[in-house]
């Protein structure tokens, strides 16, 4: 999988775009090895960092953990990008991204006393947002997780302490 940061060209929606924030965004992964992403109007500030990280992770070969880990799965990458285009707003810290052994991935945000993870793991049929504030925990299936993310997004404003 590689992710093209092609921000120009024709607008060809291949999935229902976010109606609220980035109405001219499209993701296409018709080919087997590349995800093409086209963004109309303004490119969101977080996007390049996310693409850089995804491209770095896409270079991990199968077995990268020495325990049978799979290469990054294209459908999980697409789902994660869709989620970000749905929930990210200007000023929110760029998420960290770590791979799962199944080929899925996790997005994560941290702030004082707050830990947020979004899991995209199609191999295990799991897409979930996990929010932890102190000792309290909440979770929501990704398709319905916008409200849960919005409830903590104010606390995720600003720069992340440091991002890999």
């Amino acid at each position: 999988v590689s992710v093209l940061d092609d921000f120009s060209g024709a607008f060809t929606p291949s999935f229902p775009s976010s109606p609220r924030l980035y109405p001219e965004t499209a993701l296409s992964h018709r080919t087997t090895s590349r995800i093409q992403l086209r963004v109309g109007r303004e490119t969101p500030a977080w996007l390049q960092s996310v693409l850089d990280r995804l491209n770095a992770l896409s270079r991990l070969e199968a077995g990268w953990d020495g325990r049978g880990a799979q290469s990054l799965r294209q459908d999980d990458v697409v789902a994660a990008l869709q989620f970000l285009f749905t929930v990210m707003i200007d000023g929110v810290q760029v998420p960290g991204i770590t791979p799962l052994a199944t080929g899925g991935l996790e997005l994560h945000w941290v702030a004082d006393n707050l830990d947020v993870e979004a899991v995209f793991d199609s191999a295990r049929h799991e897409q979930v947002l996990l929010v932890e504030v102190g000792e309290a925990e909440w979770d929501a299936a990704i398709p319905a997780a916008g409200g849960l993310f919005a409830s903590v997004v104010d606390r995720l404003m600003g720069e992340r302490p440091t991002l890999t």
Partner: protein, 146 residues
């Protein structure tokens, strides 16, 4: 040299206070305040066919009986790339209490102290396992090296 502790049998129960050591690569860490911090994805099952319900660990009681410590595990398992690996420590009791998980001994030809944490590990379970963990030592690769 003789070991000061008896080697546990392969079927011996793993006591709650037993240390479990988990090798963690930099790809499953983030950098926080200039230091490697593991993410919950580091505490996942294998993807090897037939082992997808098992997370490999090294059992501290067997290590001790062998007069070994966890400080060279990264070099033993990943001799060509040790700088990209750290070792985290979890206590068996915390692991078992975190959810439907079981700790088993599963010695291999290469590692007498090998064990498994057996059970499904969805996102919530991985987060609970992460709470049980702390670094023995983080990866030695500089955390700001990209």
């Amino acid at each position: 040299l003789s070991s000061s502790r008896a080697l546990p049998g392969d079927d011996a129960p793993v006591e709650r206070r037993t240390a479990l050591y988990r090798l963690v690569p930099t790809s499953q860490c983030e950098v926080r305040d200039g230091q490697w911090a593991f993410r919950s994805s580091a505490f996942d099952n294998s993807s090897l066919p037939g082992f997808t319900d098992e997370m490999s660990v090294i059992l501290g009681d067997t290590l001790a009986a062998l007069d070994r410590d966890p400080l060279d595990l990264h070099e033993r398992f990943y001799p060509s790339d040790p700088a990209n690996w750290g070792v985290a420590r979890l206590e068996a009791g915390c692991v078992v209490d975190s959810g439907p998980q079981e700790v088993r001994r599963s010695p291999t030809v290469d590692e007498r102290a090998h064990g498994d944490v057996v059970g499904a590990k969805g996102g919530g379970q991985r987060k609970r396992l992460k709470k049980c963990a702390s670094w023995v030592f983080p990866p030695s690769r500089p955390a700001d090296s990209g």
